[in-house]
């Protein structure tokens, strides 16, 4: 054979060299064992290797067993310690979970707050339950004005101030929103134009007296066909009731409006006058804003020009002035209310009440902030508890 080692022989040798140890422990499969033993017969090196390994293991088997230096049993006190330890462990786990949950809630609430602020999410009642009512009231106010163009003031445009007494009475009913809504709805029913007018009017009012006046005219025109709404009666009513109003709205300028309104609302004026006292009070609360002022100015003019409605006009104007609501939108209905005397005050009153009712009502914003604050405080407490219980359970 010489020094020649075949490939197979080499691999067998490699295999044997690597597997002598498990072979000693009897851990080879029958095939592996056979292969190794066959190689051993031919390889003195591996036989030597196996021999020394065997002796080493035997030597290790002879290593003496050392006796324990002492007893390692535990004192009985560990039982109580363990119970306490368990309790701290459970507390800690609970704190961990609670902290995670509260943190998540806080993130959600704060995100919601931010998203709402950016308008990503919309909530109809965002500014409070009254807001919607007020908006409605404004719309109705506008409609009413449209019906009562005589008042002249831009505010009057939308609100059908010249309403029959019953209407006014109804409006004055405490159910601000309901009434407003009812009026608005009626007006709407009476004619979509009224609504349109109402919309146009608030915008006009906000802009400037002039603009308002224009819109009034427009509104008046729009309303005129319907007739009734602009006369101060609820749109629906005005439509039905005031042919005269039709003429009146058309004539309306800011100044002109008054006379017409006055004329139409003469009838209502008396009623309005009755209600006026109520309105001014309410209206007075709402500081007349720019719009109110111009309207007031327009009113006087309107009043002066038309001799028709000396009374209602001043009253209306007064009302309007007093009525101007805190917000522009509110002003419109209130102003209108003034002009109407009846409708306006009611509207104004409604608007006022609506605005003042906001204070005790929690808006969504406020609730979110409050919740975030509570969660934040809770989180701090939990983190403190987490650290403390974590410390205690290590002991």
């Amino acid at each position: 054979m010489g020094g020649f080692l075949g490939i197979k022989a080499r691999s067998d040798h490699r295999f044997a060299a690597d597997n002598l140890s498990p072979y000693l422990d009897g851990r080879l499969t029958p095939q592996e064992k056979e292969r190794l033993e066959r190689h051993l017969t031919a390889c003195p090196d591996c036989r030597q290797e196996l021999s020394t390994l065997r002796e080493t293991v035997a030597l290790l088997h002879r290593a003496p067993m050392r006796p324990v230096p002492r007893s390692f049993t535990l004192p009985v006190s560990v039982q109580a310690e363990q119970a306490q330890h368990r309790r701290w462990n459970m507390t800690h786990s609970f704190m961990r979970v609670a902290t995670v949950v509260v943190s998540l809630l806080l993130v959600i609430v704060v995100s919601g707050d931010v998203l709402l602020g950016q308008g990503v999410i919309g909530i109809p009642d965002l500014y409070g339950p009254r807001a919607a009512k007020m908006a409605e009231g404004q719309r109705e106010g506008i409609e009413l004005q449209a019906a009562q163009p005589q008042e002249g003031l831009t505010a009057d445009q939308a609100t059908p101030e010249v309403q029959p007494t019953p209407d006014v009475q109804a409006l004055q009913a405490p159910a601000e929103d309901a009434v407003v809504a009812g009026d608005g709805e009626k007006a709407l029913e009476g004619g979509g134009e009224s609504a349109m007018t109402a919309e146009a009017q608030p915008g006009a009012m906000l802009a400037a007296p002039n603009t308002a006046g224009e819109q009034d005219g427009v509104a008046a025109e729009e309303v005129a066909p319907e007739g009734a709404p602009q006369q101060g009666a609820p749109i629906a009513r005005s439509m039905g009731t005031t042919p005269a109003s039709e003429a009146a709205p058309e004539e309306q300028d800011r100044a002109a409006g008054s006379p017409e309104a006055t004329a139409a609302s003469d009838a209502a004026a008396s009623t309005e006058a009755e209600t006026a006292p109520e309105e001014p009070v309410a209206l007075a609360q709402a500081a007349p804003e720019v719009q109110a002022a111009p309207e007031v100015q327009a009113a006087p003019e309107g009043q002066a020009a038309p001799a028709e409605e000396p009374q209602p006009t001043p009253e209306a104007m007064a009302k309007q002035e007093a009525a101007s609501p805190a917000t522009e939108g509110e002003q419109a209905p209130e102003v209108y209310g003034e002009a109407d005397g009846q409708n306006a005050p009611e509207r104004g009153a409604e608007a006022l009440t609506a605005s003042y009712d906001l204070s005790p009502v929690w808006t969504v914003w406020q609730m979110l902030r409050l919740i975030a604050l509570v969660l934040g405080g809770l989180l701090m407490v939990l983190i403190g508890g987490l650290l403390w219980s974590g410390h205690k359970r290590q002991l």
Partner: protein
């Protein structure tokens, strides 16, 4: 009580039941710790630590071999000690000589004094040789050839695969053999390879 019942009772918090288990296993635990650490005091600390940890962690024991579960804790405590341990500049033989308060080696009544001394020397020698091995090989060799544990038990204790146990053991034995062969003159005659 058999072991299973003892374990169950101990899991409910019965310290006395657990102490019975301690008495059963402390010899094994201490010797493994000593062979791994090479120092009697550190081995005692590791053993006590292991039993205390075992009692506290009993709720995690879900059946199977209590022996391998316990030894796993013991080896972990040994690893902790190894990180902390400052190797004392004494040889294991010095260690044996110093421990004369208690018998360090079990006496074999059939031994002659000569044989006894030689066994002491061997013990020291083996320990020295063991400490020359890398830790993971040492652990496997101690459990297999000194404590007679199977490959499977070792795999459970060390949490490695069976093949890893085989190869580690193979290398450990070869290294130890080489160590002993290089110093064969130091070995008592009867033990020379």
């Amino acid at each position: 009580m058999n072991e299973e019942k003892l374990v169950l009772a101990a899991q409910k918090g019965d310290v006395n039941a657990f102490n019975q288990l301690v008495l059963d296993y402390q010899g094994l635990a201490y010797n493994v710790a000593y062979r791994i650490l090479g120092n009697a005091d550190k081995a005692a600390d590791a053993t006590q630590d292991a039993f205390l940890r075992g009692y506290r962690a009993l709720h995690q024991f879900r059946g199977g071999s209590f022996k391998t579960w316990l030894l796993r804790i013991v080896t972990n405590c040994c690893y902790d000690q190894l990180r902390v341990l400052q190797r004392r500049p004494t040889s294991p033989i010095d260690d044996l000589v110093e421990d004369d308060e208690h018998s360090t080696i079990l006496e074999d009544s059939s031994e002659s004094p000569q044989e006894h001394v030689e066994r002491l020397e061997l013990d020291g020698f083996i320990q020295e040789a063991l400490e020359a091995l890398p830790e993971d090989q040492r652990v496997v060799l101690v459990m297999s050839d000194i404590e007679g544990m199977s490959y499977e038990e070792i795999a459970e204790v060390t949490s490695v695969a069976l093949g890893t146990v085989k190869s580690r053991l193979s290398r450990a034995r070869g290294k130890l053999r080489d160590y002993l062969q290089e110093r064969r003159e130091l070995l008592p005659h009867r033990y020379r390879l």
